[in-house]
Symmetry: C2
Subunit: 344 residues, 2 copies
């Protein structure tokens, strides 16, 4: 071996040693709060971000008395009002109204029949008059009596193009940047993130995996009766015009048990429909996190709580105050609401 | 640097190079069939093992036209008769009969009331006479009107100790070694393995995660109506005495869509109750695998198919022959059935 070779080998050995040291240092580094906060840039340095980071550090540090094994790090999130907006009305309803207009040419009889006529004409007053029964008709014809594949396609097409009237942004861009950061942060820390929503499950599955990074099997929602049918020799899953399971309120912990089979250690919601999910999560043994998104920002989003028809937050707000749950003040704690806003 | 140091550095560098080469070789090694077969030691070199390995190679090799991305590698398995035995009757029924005896001291009235009296006395003829209605009563009192936690505890206690009358082995040791190898093999190849069974979901979740390595959220089964209740200020999930969803036959593909939200690429069953799950899986685009365990081994297990009351395999066997599905001949293709047998 000549001198040049020896030097080359030495350099290579030194380089390898350096890499080994870097790997060792990064592997041994403790949970520094800084790196946790860095994962949540759209959150101000407020009490909610601090509570989240303290919780995550406590349950993921093997030396902590509150340590939770990765397979038990289950986190559940409501969707409407918790991960994306829900005003002036649930976006799934706006999808149904858009679909009615799209389907109208194939249904000339709708021009004379309510509530379809009102939906086609965008007559909100007349629509409101048709009430719950009218709404159910509109949801029925846009969501059922079709195959799962066809329904999914109709939602995908809508999600790719439809825009919210107030912001002129796609609905799928009206997800909350701070909450999407939270989902990623939790997954980086070994959590399995789930949606547990009153929204219809296939409606969410059509766009939520790409938008939130949550796979279809971790999306739980309201379901319609579905049947397995043979159509001209081809097996098809057919969505019947009958509600199967309304995933709201006390049904949420039931759905969590049915689909996940274990109690979450973290739950986030924003309305009274999430109360029991939060109670069920918080009542588990060991350290738990229960959080509410409080809509306090009429400028950047909407401001509503106890008197709202959509996403009413009343009983759950009282319970949060009693139980010392984390209540996120959207206006003061979020540096931005949507990703299309710059970070302030 | 003296000569000894130079030699030491050289040796170290050589050693590091060797490790690098080993890592490189193992990373670049193509999918050799040998390593695949080595993962399935309880299978003989028969057509079923070959079909399984060929399928797995085809969908996991990035250069293959049949390549499937890991997040779509969904594999579903029936449980009774597919992953563990189901004779002389489903083990869940044997659990219920065992529980009746255990609960009897708290229910002196059962000594005079059928079908409980017959269950306590082990009077099979009288039990059979009580029919489906009698069986439902026995399942009802042992499975419902209790919290999910209490039910899970009762199953765990039973699973840890109860033994099968014929083999004097614990029921959880009467799982099929070849199928447990198959589950591990698939997971090693990036598959997500699910149980989709007519068995009650919490009955399976009490022992299946430890036995099969399948987490609770990947166990799908029959469910009872469950309610969220406040009992003395403590939230509880309560199992009501009413069937919610019977996960059998055409309900299996419905459950797969509801819980998983995507179509499996591999399905394994053993009876007509699995027919639609296999049809649904096989009818998807791209390469698919549909398999049946055929109970042909009266000596080591049981032999039954078209005329069996438990786990009847008739229509699905015809369909398997028509569609060229894989039918595992237990007697000739499995080197052992249970793990407690030596490898032959």
């Amino acid at each position: 071996m000549n001198t040049t070779s020896v030097i080359a080998v030495r350099r290579w050995a030194a380089w390898l040693r350096m890499i080994a040291v870097v790997l060792l240092v990064s592997a041994c580094a403790g949970p520094h709060a800084d790196s946790h906060y860095a994962a949540l840039p759209s959150w101000n340095d407020g009490p909610s971000r601090q509570a989240i980071v303290e919780f995550v550090q406590a349950v993921t540090d093997p030396a902590s008395p509150d340590f939770v094994a990765p397979e038990q790090r289950i986190a559940v999130f409501d969707n409407d009002g918790t991960l994306w907006s829900e005003q002036p009305v649930y976006f799934q309803i706006l999808f149904a109204l858009d679909r009615i207009k799209e389907m109208a040419p194939e249904h000339p009889e709708w021009a004379r029949r309510q509530p379809f006529k009102a939906a086609i004409e965008g007559d909100k007053a007349r629509l409101a008059k048709s009430g719950q029964a009218g709404l159910m008709k509109i949801v029925g014809v846009t969501h059922t009596n079709m195959s799962v594949d066809d329904f999914t396609q109709s939602v995908s097409d809508w999600a790719a193009t439809a825009r919210h009237p107030r912001f002129n942004q796609r609905y799928i861009d009206m997800t909350y940047a701070p909450m999407r950061e939270l989902l990623s942060y939790l997954r980086d820390k070994g959590f399995k993130t789930y949606i547990v929503s009153g929204g219809e499950v296939e409606f969410m599955r059509a766009w939520a995996p790409a938008v939130y990074g949550i796979p279809p099997e971790q999306i739980i929602g309201t379901t319609f009766v579905t049947t397995f049918e043979d159509r001209n020799g081809v097996p098809v899953l057919w969505r019947q015009g009958k509600l199967d399971f309304n995933d709201d309120g006390p049904a949420k912990p039931v759905a969590i048990q049915r689909y996940i089979g274990q109690r979450p250690i973290l739950a986030f919601g924003n309305s009274d429909g999430d109360l029991q999910m939060l109670q069920w999560t918080a009542a588990g043994e060991g350290r738990r996190f229960a959080g509410l998104v409080h809509h306090t920002d009429a400028g950047r989003e909407w401001a509503y709580d106890r008197d709202s028809k959509v996403g009413r937050l009343d009983k759950a707000l009282d319970e949060a105050q009693r139980q010392n749950w984390t209540v996120v003040d959207m206006q003061s704690e979020w540096r931005r609401v949507y990703s299309f806003e710059p970070l302030q």
